[in-house]
Amino acid sequence: MIQTVAWITSLFFMLMVAAVFGVVALKSKERKDYEPIKKKWYKARTFYGISLVVLMLVLTIYTLRELPYNQPVYGQGKDPTIVDVEALQFGWNISQTSFKVGEPIEFDVTSADVNHGFGIYDEDMNLIAQTQAMPEYVNKVYITFDEPGTYEVLCLEYCGLAHHLMIATLEVTE
């Protein structure tokens, strides 16, 4: 799950940052000439800077390979089911809410009034996909459900006092 990977990655690097600051704080009471320190650590900075740029480049290339904006490549003759979604204060008009496992779906999402957020949650309440629902524009979400169950649609953009009550359900069967 992406959230777990994001959490562990963040935690790892945050702990590394904490460790570095901790070591420097512990060593701060010693007094040494600044010039040799600068010379040594400027050299190290070049290596650190290059490593960071390389790491970021690798991550960028890896994570940009598949974007949620792109329509996935479906099998021959297997067009996605187009579902029109209209958000409005404070509910959802969804043209179809029952789907089959493995059925490719394209949600075309818009809004009748203000900005909303169209977030799809699985049965364990993990967010699995989202897009913004905006008046005058249509944003698309491509999804193929792998598991049967009752999925929930939650509003993820603040839209007024009943924002947290904007919940709809999607049924996915075998």
Binding site: Q3, F21, E30, Y34, Q89, M134
Partner: protein
């Protein structure tokens, strides 16, 4: 002697900025705690009240921190360029008028659009608030913005007068080799130039979208493009909020060298890093719109790439520089140096979850979850705001004979741990897919909210102690000529 007297008089205005800013930050924390308690199921709060708190919390925190950040910048920048005290005072006046209008709009007229006031929500509230509330909030924000805009125009004028252009304020003549590194502008001037450039842009974008909303609220038959409005809102909000760190970091550049007796001079790499920060800060707001697939795809991809790149100046130059200057320096730790060092930790550590969230595939399942407040509470709450608190202790030490006590030191530890708790609670919530800006939570999402609220209480108590120390300093310096005697003694 005349110069010292003038500076002391200016310090009163700077201290007023800081006292108002820090106090408002403390009060806003209370609203934050109440919201977390409501989300945690501990407190019953009507949705209307929750979303009013949400609106005032976001607006107030950024406004107050920006006010205090401006004071930090102004305090140090006046040593290098000739700033107008009248305009600095005018900004405070405009801010106070704006704050009062926003407060009346939110609490008397129940306006609750959140700080984002995403068009056309101010006009389409489903009868939750009316025209007057919306206008009070939007015009109040506009007044606040005009005050800041005037101040940044004055800062830009002063820098151009002394250095020739804003480009030279960023040290472009040194980067290009026309001028020697030894003649590079001081770090404070470089940072102030950057903030001037980005904030004049941000405030212009903000004023534009505020006026669009005001027109739409008065006459709904005048409509605008919602996507354009959203771009302008996030260009304004992202840049303005981030500029607080870039104003606050001036305190780091100025205070750490004094405590370590080590120079922190602007060299070519430093200047390149600040030019990078200037450009990236202006354009990376699109990472707030990664879930708007109607945006041009190249803009969203650049949003990810440049958000990553924007981490480099802080990770490789500023944080690294702070670590180098402190390492084996024999630094004398006190409240000011301690808070300043912690602020660099807060900023750096907050960059990590921010970069993770700017990754499009991650954003697809974490955008508008509590992961977002998780990372910005870290680099704002443990970074930008701590720079300001550190500066407040520095100023009280520089400008009076007031000593800190055990409570201040306990507050420093408590504050650090509690903001880690608040941010950690948000990040865990984000990893659990908990939506942000929700008045209520499902039971599975409540635990981290309660944990965050308890941590928030500790943070609010700590801030109260910081503010009490600062108010004591203001009282001491205002009492007779104690401050004057102190300064003359320092001069001797």
């Amino acid at each position: 002697m005349e110069m010292i007297r003038k500076k002391r008089s200016d310090n009163s205005l700077i201290a007023t900025y800081l006292a108002i800013g820090a106090t408002v930050v403390g009060v806003m924390m209370i609203f934050g705690i109440l919201m977390l308690l409501a989300q945690g199921g501990v407190l019953e709060l009507q949705p209307a009240a929750f979303y009013q708190f949400l609106t005032i919390h976001g607006t107030g925190m950024i406004g107050a921190a920006a006010l205090a950040g401006a004071a930090v910048m102004w305090y140090f920048l006046r040593n290098y360029v000739d700033l107008s005290k009248k305009i600095f005072g005018l900004n405070l006046l405009f801010s106070l008028i704006g704050i009062v209008m926003v407060i009346i709009g939110v609490f008397s007229f129940e306006y609750a659009s959140s700080w984002t006031f995403l068009y056309p929500l101010p006009a389409l509230s489903a009868n939750a608030w009316g025209t007057i509330g919306a206008l009070l909030y939007l015009v109040g924000m506009l007044v606040l913005g005009v005050g800041f805009l005037l101040m940044y125009i004055d800062v830009g004028r002063a820098i151009i007068k002394k250095y020739g252009s804003l480009g030279k304020g960023l040290g472009w003549d040194v980067i290009s080799g026309k001028k020697a590194e030894a003649d590079a502008p001081p770090a404070t001037v470089v940072a102030s130039t950057m903030v001037t450039i980005v904030n004049v842009t941000a405030l212009t974008a903000g004023a534009t979208v505020l006026i669009m909303n005001i027109i739409n609220v008065i006459n709904p038959s005048f409509t605008f493009d919602p996507l354009l409005a959203k771009n302008l809102t996030y260009a304004f909000g992202h840049i303005f909020a981030n500029s607080i760190i870039y104003m606050g970091v001036i305190a780091v550049y100025e205070i750490l060298p004094r405590y370590t007796n080590r120079p922190w001079k602007a060299n070519r790499i430093f200047l390149i890093a600040w030019t990078m920060s200037t450009s990236f800060t202006l354009v990376i707001y699109t990472h707030h719109m990664l879930m708007d697939s109607v945006m041009p795809k190249w803009m969203l991809i650049m949003g990810q790439i440049l958000s990553y790149a924007n981490g480099l100046p802080v990770l490789v130059i500023t944080a690294y520089g702070a670590l180098m200057i402190v390492y084996k320096s024999g630094i004398k730790w006190d409240m000011a140096s301690g808070l300043i060092f912690i602020s660099m930790f807060g900023w750096t550590v907050g960059v990590v979850p921010a970069i993770v969230d700017a990754t499009i595939v991650v954003n697809h399942v974490m955008h508008n979850t509590k992961w977002v407040p998780g990372h910005f509470h870290m680099y704002m709450g443990l970074g930008a705001v701590v720079m300001i608190f550190g500066f407040m202790y520095f100023l009280s030490k520089e400008d009076s004979s007031l000593k800190t006590n055990l409570f201040d030191r306990i507050a420093l530890i408590c504050y650090t741990l509690s903001i880690i708790g608040v941010s950690g609670g948000f990040l865990v919530s984000g990893a659990l897919s908990t939506p942000r800006r929700w008045a209520t939570h499902f039971p599975d999402w409540m635990g981290p909210a309660v944990f965050g609220a308890v941590s928030g209480v500790l943070a609010a108590i700590s801030v109260t102690i910081f503010v009490i120390h600062f108010i004591r300093y203001m009282m001491v310096r205002n009492k007779g000529n104690e401050g004057k005697v102190f300064h003359e003694r320092k001069l001797a």
